[in-house]
């Protein structure tokens, strides 16, 4: 690419981005994973809305998973990471990046309350430093492992 064509490309990108961004944000919210097991009251909080969740439904980056007093939820992410929640629990999927060919990898989970289990997947193998399990009192850096976390807020 010549300098001139590169500049032209950048200018084109700058012009098109503002109008294209909202549509892109909707269509490109690629699924981070899928709900495999759901029992009792379970919800996905997405964009402020609390949606009753069922097995088979997709989970997106920045979704919050919630269970009620009789709820349980098990999900598998696209990189083979697995997360499960016991009753009265809440976990937020803050970051999920899994494009190994572009080395875009990252996983940040926020354990808000209740009990949950994390089993590491491909991101932990390929980019262990990009994984953070956050809680209100400490950060857990889990390497190739199965970890259970309980949060009493």
């Amino acid at each position: 690419m010549t300098t001139r064509s590169r500049i032209a490309a950048i200018v084109a990108a700058l012009i098109t981005v503002p109008t294209a961004a909202p549509a892109l944000a909707q269509t490109q919210a690629a699924a981070a994973g899928r709900i495999k097991i759901a029992a009792g009251e379970v919800f996905v909080v997405r964009g402020g809305a609390m949606l009753p969740a069922k097995a088979g439904e997709e989970v997106l980056e920045s979704d919050t998973l919630q269970t009620g007093a009789d709820g349980r939820l098990g999900i598998t992410l696209r990189d083979d990471t697995r997360i499960s929640l016991g009753p009265d629990s809440e976990v937020r999927l803050d970051t999920f990046l899994y494009t190994p060919s572009e080395e875009r990898l990252g996983l940040v989970l926020n354990f808000v309350r209740g009990s949950a289990v994390y089993v590491s997947g491909k991101i932990a193998q390929l980019a262990p430093d990009s994984i953070r399990l956050e809680t209100p009192a400490a950060v857990v850096d889990a390497r190739g492992s199965m970890v259970a976390i309980q949060v009493v807020p």
């Binding site: 088979g56 016991g86 259970a148 976390i149």
Partner: protein, 210 residues
């Protein structure tokens, strides 16, 4: 006539009892969030990884099965061993709700063909079994080739291989919507070779079942 007034002492006692009953709910003695972290052996492989728990006050490393730490804000995390009965009580339901582990398979093909090798034909059952083990299966099938032949025709051959495996899965009862079949042609070799090299290990389909 005026109504009899309750004795002042009784009123005081009732009010005091009411207030003290409310007290534990309204006044929190420990407002800090409490967090417990425990390292578990993988339910499927038994492997034990490693976890480092840290906050502003310090850090602790968990590296043995059931090693755990209880943390509150500002207090240094310390490792101790959690009893398996406590693990069961705190996390039993969450552990029981973990989806089955995702599995990966590689099936090999005859030269320039979408026909499985004798050996790989036997492994199809393992794939089907792992699909049945998943409550909501997602299957990703990626076809690959060796470097003999043109890049474009290898892309097509990879797609024919992926499609053949897809057809096998559908025949076994899996819904077509659960299968994502793709080709990477000769772009992702299992055994690195120069162009135009016969390599049986590169003529394959890689399957993820999750």
């Amino acid at each position: 006539m005026t109504a009899p007034r309750p004795p002042a002492l009784l009123v005081t006692l009732v009010v005091a009892a009411f207030l003290s009953a409310c007290a534990p709910k309204t006044v929190r003695t420990d407002p800090d969030p409490q967090v417990q972290v425990v390292l578990l052996p993988d339910t499927d492989t038994g492997e034990v990884g490693k976890a480092v728990v840290s906050n502003q006050a310090g850090r602790t490393e968990l590296s043995n099965a059931y090693s755990s730490t209880r943390v509150s804000m500002g207090a240094k995390p310390r490792a101790r061993k959690m009893k398996t009965t406590d693990v069961e009580e705190l996390f039993g339901e969450a552990i029981a709700t973990l989806p089955p582990p995702p599995l990966h398979f590689t099936l090999f093909f005859r030269f320039d063909s979408e026909e499985l090798t004798e050996e790989s034909r036997k492994n199809v059952q393992d794939v089907l079994r792992s699909v049945k083990a998943q409550p909501v299966p997602d299957v990703i099938v990626i076809g690959h080739t060796d470097t003999t032949g043109a890049t474009a025709s290898n892309f097509e051959l990879g797609m024919r291989r992926a499609t053949a495996v897809r057809a096998l899965l559908i025949k076994a009862g899996l819904s077509a919507a659960a299968i994502d079949a793709r080709s990477h042609g000769e772009m992702e070799l299992l055994v690195q070779t120069a162009n135009g090299v016969f390599e049986p290990k590169n003529r394959r389909v890689e399957i993820t079942v999750r």
